[in-house]
Subunit: 470 residues, 2 copies
């Protein structure tokens, strides 16, 4: 039986390496029974370690439990370890506001990854075959998919492999018959996967009447499209890192001029990729949304924005495209404003754009010092000790401060740590600085170098105010 069609196709798929440690997704249906058995047959030759993993979705009451029992028994008979986990898919689907199908898929892949992680397996084998592939592609075409949808499921992606992807269902059933392998009939097909079943039970049989090899034909198409998909993905990766101005956990900034040097195929995918970075719910942007974004890119208007699902905004400015949640984008501007050092007007008012804040600098009579309160946002400096050019900016790598009341100098980073200022807030704190020294960590401490002393003749008062300038 080493020369069976299935075994041959599994070998030809070139996904098996010697010493592979494989988690096999094992529903107990014909496909996964065939896969588990075929890999088991090849285990000696390839020195494989095989573990079956069964997720009980609990969608069909006792039937679900029966499947789990079947899976365990089957594995035990073949002396294969079987890991079983039980989850409430209906509940998580409801909580997440997603379909049973999506919830099931997410939970399954998570479970397989968990098992692989736990036992140190390097691969996860799934039993998808050519019929599944053809159904997926037809479904996606009918729903209106792009290249990504039409290339279907890949033979291999990350840990996941699909060694049966080039096998037809008949070949799999033939294999099970030959080896007299028992399997469970999944009744959930009729319930959870309505659309797929229409495709499988009505549409494909109809197409077969005028093209009997439709499953193989679509299979070949998917191989070709998957190759093209991979090629374009490579190019998108290159472009993405090229057009990125910067990226934080919360905001992605893209150069529109760089982006526009690319072909629309690449541009639309870069936008989609940036969007997907914020998107944990498997949502995607529609054809029309991408189209709309591309048309805005071409226009030379000053500022435009597009709202995407998941409260993600794309904000276009002439020299920058920002993607993220509204508040994160706004916040990013204040951080960014401070990235550029802004010269402090002395005397005068220096605004921090987007922060709705300003510095007021005035030279005051030394007498006024006596009335000073304890406002950490209002400080007094020895005017004659101040360098000529003073700026406001946020922290830089290597910044140092001689904190008032101490002898030595320390890294601003260590000062922040001592003051227990959380990492995410540190960029937001304005610093008053000369070229070489931090003079004031606004709201926290001034520098020993510029403090008022007995010798002070002229006093500079600097206030930071978050209110609007009148």
């Amino acid at each position: 039986m080493k020369d069976s069609v299935i075994i041959k196709k599994v070998i030809e798929s070139k996904q098996l390496n010697v010493n592979d440690h494989i988690v096999v997704g094992f529903s107990g249906g014909a496909d996964s029974v065939c896969l588990l058995h075929a890999l088991f047959q090849l285990a000696d030759t390839y020195r494989l370690q095989i573990v079956a993993a069964h997720l009980n979705h609990n969608l069909r009451g006792m039937d679900s439990n029966e499947d789990a029992t079947f899976a365990m028994n089957f594995a035990r008979r073949h002396q294969i370890t079987c890991v079983v986990k039980s989850v409430d898919i209906a509940k998580s689907a409801k909580e997440e506001g997603i379909s049973l199908e999506t919830a099931g898929r997410i939970s399954r892949y998570q479970f397989f990854e968990e098992v692989a992680e736990k036992i140190g397996a390097n691969k996860i084998a799934l039993a998808h075959h050519q019929n599944d592939q053809a159904e997926t592609i037809l479904m996606n075409l009918i729903r209106g998919a792009g290249l990504e949808g039409l290339s279907g499921m890949p033979m291999v992606r990350d840990k996941i492999m699909r060694p049966l992807l080039h096998c037809r269902r008949e070949q799999i059933e033939e294999y099970c018959r030959y080896w007299d392998l028992p399997y469970q009939i999944d009744q959930s097909n009729q319930e959870t996967e309505y659309f797929r079943n229409k495709i499988r039970l009505e549409l494909i049989p109809k197409i077969k009447k005028y093209q009997p090899n439709v499953i193989e034909s679509i299979g070949k198409t998917s191989v070709l499209l998957e190759q093209d998909r991979q090629y374009i993905e490579e190019k998108v990766e290159e472009a993405y890192s090229e057009v990125l101005c910067y990226k934080t956990d919360k905001v992605i900034s893209i150069s529109p001029s760089k982006l526009l040097q690319y072909h629309p195929s690449i541009v639309s995918r870069v936008i989609r990729k940036a969007y997907m970075f914020f998107n944990t719910r498997e949502q995607t942007i529609s054809f029309d949304q991408v189209h709309h974004i591309l048309s805005l890119l071409d226009q030379k208007k000053t500022e435009k924005e597009v709202q995407l699902p998941g409260e993600i905004k794309v904000l276009f400015k002439t020299d920058e495209i920002k993607i993220g949640k509204k508040e994160d984008i706004e916040k990013s501007y204040s951080e960014e404003t401070m990235k550029e050092a802004i010269p402090l007007k002395i005397p005068g008012i220096t605004r921090l754009v987007q922060r709705n804040g300003y510095f007021r600098c005035e030279v005051v009579n030394i007498e006024k010092m006596k009335n000073r309160g304890k406002d950490p946002y209002c400080q007094y400096f020895d005017f004659d000790q101040l360098p000529e050019h003073i700026v406001v900016r946020n922290r830089r790598e290597g910044d140092r401060l001689k904190p008032l009341g101490t002898n030595g100098s320390k890294k601003v980073k260590d000062f922040f740590i001592d003051q227990k200022i959380p990492v995410e807030k540190r960029n937001m704190i304005p610093l008053i600085a000369s070229e070489n020294e931090i003079l004031w960590v606004v709201g926290h401490r001034i520098s020993e170098l510029v403090k008022i002393t007995q010798k002070t003749k002229k006093v500079l008062k600097i206030q930071f105010r978050s209110d609007k300038v009148q």
Copy 2:
């Protein structure tokens, strides 16, 4: 009616420019009637010149003639010039060994091009719409197509435009009803386009039951895929000119090492493009053939070849892939051998590889000269007048010769013309040359510079022989 869906879509298609001169493919069916009428409506705004072109396929006896009469009458009523041509599609299909459908398509496009050429039109408008597109894409998917097949018909390619490509058939019929436009029902649908009709009349109505918008969905898919196709085509063009060693009318030579630096998506298309260069019959290479060629590329065997339809051969050598007819490839080797200048061994034998020929050089007694016959492939030279380094090669741009018995020097090109040597043979003629001069056009004439004179002391005899060296 300027705001009708059809007119809007035509304008949105952005294929119309002011002063366009357009040939409209006009079968007389609803689609082309709608297109002709819609363009006619826009003629003032865009200052269009419109000419209808009807090809009578003569496939349905009197009905075909009726269609032609209808087309002419319709055009006349709207004061549009209509060019009609009658061809025997059945005959040309038989002669060419192709289907009626293919023969019809080729003849139609040829006819439209002819008309455009003749009247100086810059565009050809065809009435394909979104339903045609969806049918085409489904047909191609079911038959097993790649990206090119699944992207369907492009909105624009060269002169051809399809302004109705984003309109559904219902919208077109609605337009004809609104304007009370008569049209012919094409009965040939049932005969020549069996498969397309199955898709249109059986499959799509079935799919519409679970996805009513399937035509628009597939339409969107085709827009996305067409964009990707164009992107990949650009990259293929770049790669093609990069990997090409040289290209003649008959042989394409490709560098395998350069080719292998590209992604398989690109490599397979470069091979296909090279093949298509020789292919006038719209044949293409199959999935399996391309796959086979790619697998040979990866192997490090010395020499392999693949036979493709149309008697085209792909010959793999370690440093070169040649594509062309068998005899042309063989011929190319002899030409090419001579491209590299080969130093002539004096005295000695110098082989011309693949040409099965060799030069024999020997210094001979001047007495031997007396017996010389009239063999144009055996010549005698004044040894002392010969430069030190002499090579054999074929002609180069700018080569000059001082033909024996003349005073001046002339271009070798002009010498060939004078001698009435046909262009295709010129590359095949070996030249004995020094760095600056042609000394012997083998088989034709030696140079005045190296002829035997009274002063000659030492004689070099050079023979060219096509026999194998013993």
